[in-house]
């Protein structure tokens, strides 16, 4: 019989006033005992609605049943059969819109804390010997462009099927947004590295410092003997608002700000990476990236951090938990505010944001009520640093160097329902296809593409043989 208490077992967190000044992980995770108690809240529903909410199809009730029994190793292995990055998903997935959003327990109370349980299993097993059973090699080679969530997922799934997989990563370390974008306090980099190490144990080869589209083209990958290519090249050029003053010193894209901190470790003294020592920071945007930038700015030492967002709190696209954490830590939300101009001092350094107040009008094509400017409401918000977190447009390097690869008018690669692009043997997924989205959607696409690549290569092989 399931434990029918209506609420999730709470998880320990660092106190807001403490954590706002360090980069240690905010959420501390379940103890063994709490994990078992939480797992016992699961009803083990026959029709498994939670699984329908999971883009990578984690066998949720099965692994939770194992946790409830105290058999964490089996639980972990069940997760790993479909998810190559459980420690990551358990931390950064928007569970409220996915598995937990569909959980039957959520109807009359809080859903089962599936994310925390997934994280618990991954954390429990880290550093322990796990049974790695690489599949026998099938003699086929696949190239993966980009070592972010979609690429790593595709690589993991293909390696499990026996493919010889090489991941070509542009940066000096694989992980993509998990390394450069999501901050340490939300996703410790050692944990990401561990997941990547596990993939290497499965036989995945990772080549860093390789910018496909520059050092090698997609066509050259085929010439080198790769039979299929998965493109997960991720987010590209950061967007700016196109307003006056965006060239001032102290105006960052969120990508640059976060990369300096996360990948280049500007917050650690032994690293050479510089970052502005800001006092007042205005972050423009309302997504997870904006929350990450705002909370990072606090930790870098800013006295005041504002999130400037043109709609209201209800429309914030960020994960609820991130918004909640940001508020707890002292980030101030200036919703229904839209920057119209950035002003600088005599040295070309930004000194303020001219904001215009907004009100909500009729719903737009996204179904959200669109913000309308209130005439004459402009005011100056003091800020010595402004971080633009308003999205990206896909990276142009691959599309510009790969004949036959079709893109839509926003520059995103066009794929069919199997993630196949317009070019034979080339599959794609993640932000390169969707524009800025979530880690888990990218992973879902990587997974789907891996299955399609497997089918494609097998069909080709049987075609040749028969």
């Amino acid at each position: 019989m399931a434990d029918m208490r209506p609420n999730k077992i709470p998880v320990a967190e660092q106190e807001p006033e403490v954590r706002a000044h360090n980069f240690e992980e905010v959420t501390l995770g379940y103890s063994l005992e709490k994990a078992v108690r939480e797992a016992r809240r699961c009803l083990n529903c026959k029709n498994k609605p939670c699984m329908n909410g999971c883009p990578v199809g984690v066998r949720i009730p099965e692994f939770i049943a194992k946790v409830a029994e105290g058999n964490f190793e089996d639980a972990y292995e069940i997760i790993k059969t479909t998810n190559s990055l459980p420690a990551v998903c358990g931390r950064v997935c928007p569970q409220e819109n996915q598995c937990e959003g569909k959980c039957v327990r959520g109807i009359k109370g809080e859903p089962v804390s599936i994310g925390r349980l997934e994280r618990f299993c991954a954390d429990y097993m880290r550093g322990k010997e796990t049974r790695v059973n690489p599949a026998p090699k099938n003699g086929h080679k696949v190239a993966v462009v980009g070592g972010g969530p979609s690429g790593l997922t595709a690589a993991g799934d293909l390696a499990k099927l026996g493919y010889e997989v090489t991941v070509f990563e542009a940066f000096h370390t694989a992980g993509g947004v998990l390394m450069y974008g999501i901050p340490e306090f939300r996703l410790p980099k050692a944990i990401v590295q561990h997941e990547i190490d596990d993939l290497e144990k499965l036989g995945v080869k990772i080549m860093t410092n390789m910018v496909i589209g520059k050092v090698l083209s997609v066509d050259e990958l085929f010439e080198m003997g790769y039979e299929a290519v998965f493109v997960g090249s991720g987010a590209g050029l950061p967007r700016f608002m196109g307003i006056e003053g965006e060239g001032l010193i102290g105006v960052y894209s969120a990508n640059e700000y976060l990369t300096r901190i996360n990948l280049m470790k500007a917050y650690r003294n032994e690293y050479a990476t510089p970052i502005m020592k800001s006092q007042k920071v205005a972050v423009v945007g309302g997504g997870n990236v904006a929350m990450d930038a705002a909370r990072s700015a606090l930790r870098i030492g800013a006295k005041k951090v504002y999130v400037v967002y043109r709609r209201s709190m209800d429309e914030l696209p960020a994960r609820k938990e991130e918004v909640h954490h940001a508020i707890e830590e002292g980030v101030e939300f200036l919703t229904l505010n839209n920057p119209v101009k950035l002003l600088g001092d005599d040295n070309g350094r930004v000194r303020s944001v001219v904001c215009q107040k907004m009100e909500l009008g009729e719903p737009d094509e996204s179904g959200r009520r669109s913000p309308v400017a209130i005439e004459g409401s402009d005011y100056e918000l003091d800020a010595d640093t402004v971080i633009m977190a308003i999205g990206t447009s896909p990276n142009p390097l691959i599309r510009n160097t790969t004949p036959g690869l079709e893109v839509n008018k926003r520059g995103c690669l066009i794929v069919d329902e199997t993630e196949a692009t317009s070019k034979e043997g080339v599959y794609a997924g993640g932000d390169a296809v969707t524009g800025a989205a979530t880690v888990i959607l990218a992973m879902g696409a990587g997974k789907k593409a891996a299955a399609a690549i497997d089918a494609y290569i097998k069909a080709k092989e049987s075609g040749i043989d028969g």
Partner: protein, 277 residues
């Protein structure tokens, strides 16, 4: 890891390194750059490819030790390894079709970047007037190489201690006024020099290409740090450049943005030199 197969001190502060990087050497072209990270704790620094040897699989970088990261890099010796080298990044320089005569203008260590341009054009059979400016005789680099890869080399020194006494812009103007009918001018060096070259050529309507060196992290179009204003629009030096039409570039914004971390840089150098933090 990328092995340094040759290291040569070109002057007191300028170092040349040939790096074993066969993939990059195979694709490199004039105008492109690499990003180098000396060790785990270093910044990623963009350096224009000064030369490459596809057969040996090496690329050449030439850099001046101006800050902490270049000091760390310069401290490496022949046989040592650089942790990360990525490239070739950026778009190779595109020349106008059918160009016959070009002035390539280099300033200081910028001559290391002007050199591959001169070499490529010279090999294409173009008349290359290479104008290389230095503060004084003691810091002249690559004289022999530049002489070999140009139709005529004009070395200028600010103090007149060698060659032409004056700035590169004076020499350039002299050549233009003397009837040199340049199809294009390519200017590479400190931002003020490039700006003045553009001011020199503008009245004559000579197309002028500059190679920009903004702050950069990834070099692949992700961070947006390298954005520059060209013709009123935001461009990214790493993917749209680093070459741009100099007459369209907002140099004053570039100068300001490049000064973002000057204070931090001084502290960094101080730390490396064992000074107080």
């Amino acid at each position: 890891m990328f092995k340094i197969v040759r290291r040569k001190q070109l002057n007191g502060s300028v170092v040349l390194m040939d790096i074993d990087a066969p993939f990059i050497a195979k694709k490199a072209d004039a105008g492109q750059f690499v990003i180098v990270r000396s060790d785990e704790y270093s910044e990623r620094i963009p350096l224009t490819i000064a030369d490459f040897d596809r057969e040996k699989g090496t690329v050449t970088i030439i850099f001046q030790t101006i800050g902490g990261s270049t000091m760390t890099l310069a401290a490496l010796n022949e046989g040592d390894e650089i942790k990360d080298v990525v490239g070739p990044l950026g778009t190779a320089t595109e020349y106008e079709k059918g160009i016959k005569k070009v002035a390539v203008v280099g300033g200081g260590v910028g001559c290391a970047i002007a050199y591959p341009q001169a070499k490529k054009l010279h090999n294409m059979g173009v008349d290359v007037q290479l104008i290389a400016g230095f503060r004084n005789k003691d810091i002249i680099i690559l004289e022999e190489e530049m002489r070999k890869e140009s139709t005529q080399l004009h070395i200028c020194t600010d103090d007149g201690s060698y060659g032409y006494h004056g700035f590169v812009t004076d020499k350039l103007k002299e050549l233009i006024d003397g009837g040199a009918d340049f199809d294009e001018v390519i200017a590479i060096g400190p931002v003020p020099m490039m700006k003045f070259v553009c001011q020199t050529t503008k009245p004559y309507g000579i197309k002028t290409i500059v190679s920009l060196n903004p702050i950069m992290i990834d070099g692949t179009g992700m961070c947006g740090g390298c954005r520059v204003r060209v013709g009123g629009e935001i461009k990214y030096a790493c993917v749209d450049g680093p070459d741009f039409d100099g007459h369209e570039v907002d140099f004053s914004e570039l100068v300001k943005r490049n000064s973002t971390y000057h204070e931090a840089e001084k502290l960094h150098v101080c730390r490396l030199m064992g000074g107080v933090k």
